[in-house]
Amino acid sequence: MTLVGKTDKLILSGLTRRFGSFTAVDSVDLSLSEGEFVSLLGPSGCGKTTTLRMIAGFMPPSGGSISVDGKPLSGPGGVVPPERRGMSMIFQSYAIWPNMTVAENVAFGLTLRRLSRAEVRDRVAKILATVRMGHLSERYPAELSGGQQQRVALARAIVVQPAVLLLDEPLSNLDASLREEMRFEIRRLHDEFRITTVYVTHDQGEAMVTSDRIAVMNEGRIEQVDAPFQLYNRPRTRFVAGFIGRTNLVDAERRGGEVAFGGFVLPAERLHGLPDRDGPFTLSIRPEAIGVTAPGTEDARARLAATIAERAYLGDHWDYLAMVGSLRLRVQAPPRVAFETGSAVTLAVDPSDMVAVA
């Protein structure tokens, strides 16, 4: 039984979808509070789009349930069709109807809600102004750029004030610079309208810019749901640590109050997410959490003697591969910290930047 908080708007519980013997979505639990923006982030085939299509009602779940405001929408007993869910959605292809003008596209949902003509005109004008498309309202979609079509799709979805807004990789068809701009546009619109939003993407940058929380999905399961800062700095699984940013995954072992890896021993107390019992586990150390200094430099951090095996200069930082015995560590250092390949260095890590992952 899931505990239903008073502010929970959208609740997925045990949501499952099978295609034949393949389980695309595997008992997913997720709650969004009113006005929250949550991303489903994961590689292609992880089940994020399937989850979104089940929330929209385009696909019945094989198990589990979906409810909004405490009312069940999908479950073993039946599925409310998409048109009666009071949601709206932005599609990968934008799905702007080419037979209608921009204004007609945006007005469509309002007309279906039987609003008066004057009110429809009013609200269409207002939302088009908000997405800066007011001057193009009589254009047909074929006459618009990709970014403009995207804005029309946003306006069309938001203008009906949906209970839940769903976005399915909405930026994947835009070029890089436009994508950057639209991320902030989507977040700006969210801050303005506060619509409960589920956003599907495989791009961690998009997810981090737009979301209050990110649910990282892998092989049909949610691995971790957290705010972007938490997700990056306190990943709970190897997959999350590796998928969000780059990391070093190091075999380690807990022995009482100490943690051993690569021939070194550290006091355990400052590490995060340590297993309760003694035994082997995996440590995640971000490349930028490791400092590189000349041998013999002293400070308060844990110190590891290492050799630079490979290096690449990328302009805003150095990318080193450092060997600590047989342990390979990626290290990211500022441009001025330059060491030749083969030089002996000391690596310094603050134990509080090390995270044990499952």
């Binding site: 929209a56 009602g57 385009f58 069940p72 929408l73 479950g75 073993p76 007993g77 039946g78 599925v79 409310v80 069709p81 998409p82 048109e83 009666r84 869910r85 009071g86 949601m87 709206s88 959605m89 599609f91 990968q92 292809s93 799905a95 109807w97 080419p98 037979n99 469509f108 949902g109 279906l112 809600r113 069309r156 979805a157 009906v160 769903l166």
Partner: protein, 564 residues
């Protein structure tokens, strides 16, 4: 929590039920009935092989089968001699008049075969035909040398109407062969002629064979031309023999048994064609691989065009000139004199001859109804199959395409066997004609509808639904408007052949449901060529007018598209 009241079953099983019933009525029923009738005793319904014994028991009947095979073979040989040089010259060379040649081939394609046959009866009838009179005038001979009422005459006339099938396949393949493949041969020292014969032509061999198969099947399934030419010449082919089984007393069961070779050969050859065209690796038609430069013909430019012009002359220009002359003549034999010109034939056909006037209306009415039903049905099937709204959608689309491999004349016999007897007793009604036409042209409609639906991203409809519109709203507000243009084209592609269809119609018409094509055949039996030509001109004008609209709507090559 009660989910029961939220249950929303889309009425997909209902839709599937309706569509499958339509398919049974139109496709499965008539074919099953045809097979059944062929092994049943007419009176008792007991199983028997007597019908087959009757159908193949006389040398005359077997001779008709043989005639059809020989006819198909001869037509294909003649068709190749016409189509290959034309296709190659238009697609690969700098011959002058390439557009003219294209238009003439299109013309040969659009002229109903039986109109071309009427033209040739005027051109090469013994002695009185224009060509014979020209021959006698030039040489001073007492007798003409051409006689259309012979086996070779029939083969020539059919070849002149069937060669575009080969042309369509070969030219579209030739247009895709990259010049680099020819350059590779040239650089090794091969001359242009050798390259063409040893490299280019072999590359398009699968297309040639595919075209020949279609040409062969069209020739042996043709009814109008053999009926006009072979019957007076006192020999029979399969289709005219089938027609004779239908003369009083009608022996449907024997006709059904006799139609089996036609059906089997058609299914088998289309199967073979599909295998051939599926072997993509053989046809080096990737489309990539650089430009396609026309071959320079040099001194051969004009002789090549001369040959194309000669084919156009035989296939389109001469038959149409003499047809028009007869249509506007008081007596066609009196020639092109001004005092011989009259509108009398048209006035008679369109206003005085009750049956002729009615037949024009009937053709339009049945053609339009057929086009609406076929397109509607095809769209419904294409939609539910592509959106996966029903299980076993593949069965529906297969049935929609199945009539493609059923010759029109065989289909007509199936419809007769299914719907003519009581209790339905639809023989001679408009209903049975329209139903048969719908089935006959369903594959054309379906191919178009399927392509049109595939071009619409399902997200367009999902966007409607998530905003609160039901599936029907999505269809009405988004799908229908987006389909409008392509379906206007699809409608014409059904309407045009439906207004000129003869082989399916002739077996099913009654006294009050005669269509133009059938009436043309009736008039030919009366031997009044002027009125016959006038009605043919009306039919031709309608076909041309509609085709011009079609070009506007869908583009110029719309009738010559492969598989279209």
């Amino acid at each position: 929590m009660s989910f029961a009241r939220l249950r929303q079953i889309e009425p997909s099983s209902l839709v599937f039920g309706v569509l499958i019933i339509a398919m049974v009525l139109l496709v499965v029923g008539p074919i099953a009935r045809l097979l059944l009738v062929s092994v049943q005793e007419a009176e008792t319904g007991a199983l028997t092989l007597a019908n087959y014994a009757a159908a193949y028991g006389r040398p005359r009947y077997l001779g008709a089968l043989l005639n059809s095979l020989m006819l198909g073979g001869t037509v294909c040989a003649l068709g190749l001699a016409m189509a290959l040089p034309l296709a190659w010259a238009v697609a690969r060379t700098d011959m002058p008049g390439r557009n003219f040649t294209k238009i003439m081939v299109l013309g040969a394609f659009m002229i109903p075969p039986y109109l071309g046959a009427v033209g040739w009866m005027l051109l090469a009838g013994p002695n009185a035909g224009w060509l014979n009179r020209a021959w006698m005038w030039v040489t001073g001979a007492e007798n003409g040398i051409f006689d259309i009422y012979t086996f070779s005459g029939l083969a020539l006339v059919i070849a002149l109407s069937s060669f575009p099938y080969i042309y369509v396949f070969v030219s579209s393949a030739l247009e895709l062969v990259s010049s680099e493949l020819e350059d590779a041969a040239s650089i090794l020292g091969s001359g242009p002629w050798r390259t063409t014969l040893r490299v280019t032509m072999p590359l398009v061999m699968p297309a040639i064979i595919a075209g020949v198969i279609v040409c062969f099947l069209e020739s042996i399934a043709l009814f109008g031309t053999p009926a006009l030419i072979a019957l007076p010449a006192r020999f029979t082919v399969v289709t005219t023999q089938l027609w004779q089984f239908f003369e009083f007393p009608t022996r449907v069961e024997v006709a059904a048994a006799y139609s089996m070779p036609l059906l089997v050969v058609t299914v088998a050859l289309f199967g073979l064609q599909k295998l051939l065209l599926a072997r993509k690796g053989y046809v080096a038609v990737s489309g990539k691989g650089g430009e396609r430069r026309p071959l320079r013909l040099g001194a051969w430019r004009w002789p090549m065009f001369g040959y194309c012009f000669f084919v156009a002359l035989l296939a389109v220009i001469l038959p149409m000139i003499v047809l028009l002359q007869a249509a506007f003549a008081k007596a066609w034999g009196r020639g092109f004199a001004l005092d011989n010109v009259t509108l009398r034939n048209f006035i008679y056909i369109l206003f005085e001859h009750d049956k002729a006037r009615a037949s024009v209306g009937n053709s339009f009415q049945y053609g339009a109804t057929t086009a609406f039903i076929a397109i509607g049905l095809a769209l419904a099937v294409a939609y539910v199959v592509n959106r996966r709204l029903v299980r076993f959608g593949g069965v529906l689309s297969f049935l929609c395409m199945a009539p493609f491999v059923i010759p029109g004349i065989v289909l007509a016999i199936g419809f007769y066997a299914t719907y003519a007897p009581p209790p339905l007793a639809l023989y001679g009604t408009a209903t049975i004609l329209v139903l048969a036409f719908v089935t006959r042209f369903l594959p054309i409609a379906y191919a178009n509808a399927d392509a049109a639906i595939k071009a619409i991203n399902p997200e367009m409809e999902e966007a409607v639904r998530i905003l609160g519109g039901g599936r029907l709203t999505a269809i009405r507000r988004v799908v229908a408007p987006l389909l409008k243009k392509s379906m206007a084209g699809g409608w014409l592609l059904v309407f045009i052949p439906a207004t000129r269809e003869l082989s399916a119609a002739i077996f099913l018409v009654g006294p009050n449901t005669r269509v133009m094509s059938v009436l043309l055949y009736d008039l030919s039996e009366e031997g009044n060529f002027e009125q016959l030509a006038a009605l043919g001109t009306v039919l031709l004008a309608i076909t041309l007018g509609l085709s011009l609209i079609g070009f506007r709507v869908i583009g110029r090559d719309f009738m010559l598209r492969r598989g279209g």
